[in-house]
């Protein structure tokens, strides 16, 4: 097996396991864990795309000219993507805390059902009950 096949398989594997956790699991936190896995898989794919056998890391050593290096561009993109992923994760967790406070559960179907009930109960002109109080 070549390095490339292994890396691609690893990236796609992470991506698929993450997709499974996002689609088939019924717990919101597990869906979020799946999202992190999906993002990790795509990050690995990007780094793998820029990899070259027998090439150096993209940092110049003192007094040394640029030889054969791996592609630095995808690495910069992945750095950006990792930080973006963390921002999204933090916001998702903040929302999870509030959803749990409001509904007392994190089961996806249960939350969807309670949301429907709440929407139907909210009368005309009313913007729905405030969720400030703990349920």
């Amino acid at each position: 097996m070549s390095t490339g096949a292994v890396l691609y398989a690893g990236a796609i594997g992470l991506f698929l396991i993450g997709c499974y956790a996002m689609v088939a699991e019924r717990h919101l936190i597990r869906n979020i864990l799946g999202l992190v896995l999906v993002e990790s898989g795509v990050n690995l794919l990007l780094v793998a795309v820029g990899f070259r056998e027998n090439a150096a890391a993209p940092i110049l050593k003192a007094g040394q000219s640029a030889g054969m290096m791996v592609d630095p561009l995808p690495q910069a993109l992945v750095l950006t993507a990792i930080v973006i992923g963390f921002g999204v994760l933090a916001l998702a967790l903040a929302l999870v805390v509030r959803v749990h406070q409001a509904y007392g559960t994190l089961d996806t179907r249960e939350v969807a059902r309670l949301m429907r009930v709440e929407r139907e109960a909210s009368g005309p002109g009313a913007a729905g009950p405030r969720a400030g109080a703990k349920s």
Partner: protein
Amino acid sequence: MTLLITLITGVMLLAAIAVVVLRGLLAAVAALAAVSLALSVLFVLLRAPDVALAEAAVGAGLSGVLLALTLRRVGLWPGGPAREDEQ
């Protein structure tokens, strides 16, 4: 080199499967941190030290802590005050 990469990729995928299979949420979060650690080792092997550092600090460190803290806050932390198992 290829062998090492294969090995670590295997460990990473096993940890990822553990994230889905493990029923305890805290254990799943720990498995996710393991995935991030394996990934950052993989990044070192792929000559991406900057990315490896970021993945270790953000992916394995901060994300794991943040997830664990959220579990504590919503009472899914084993032994936490408002113990509540997954439905």
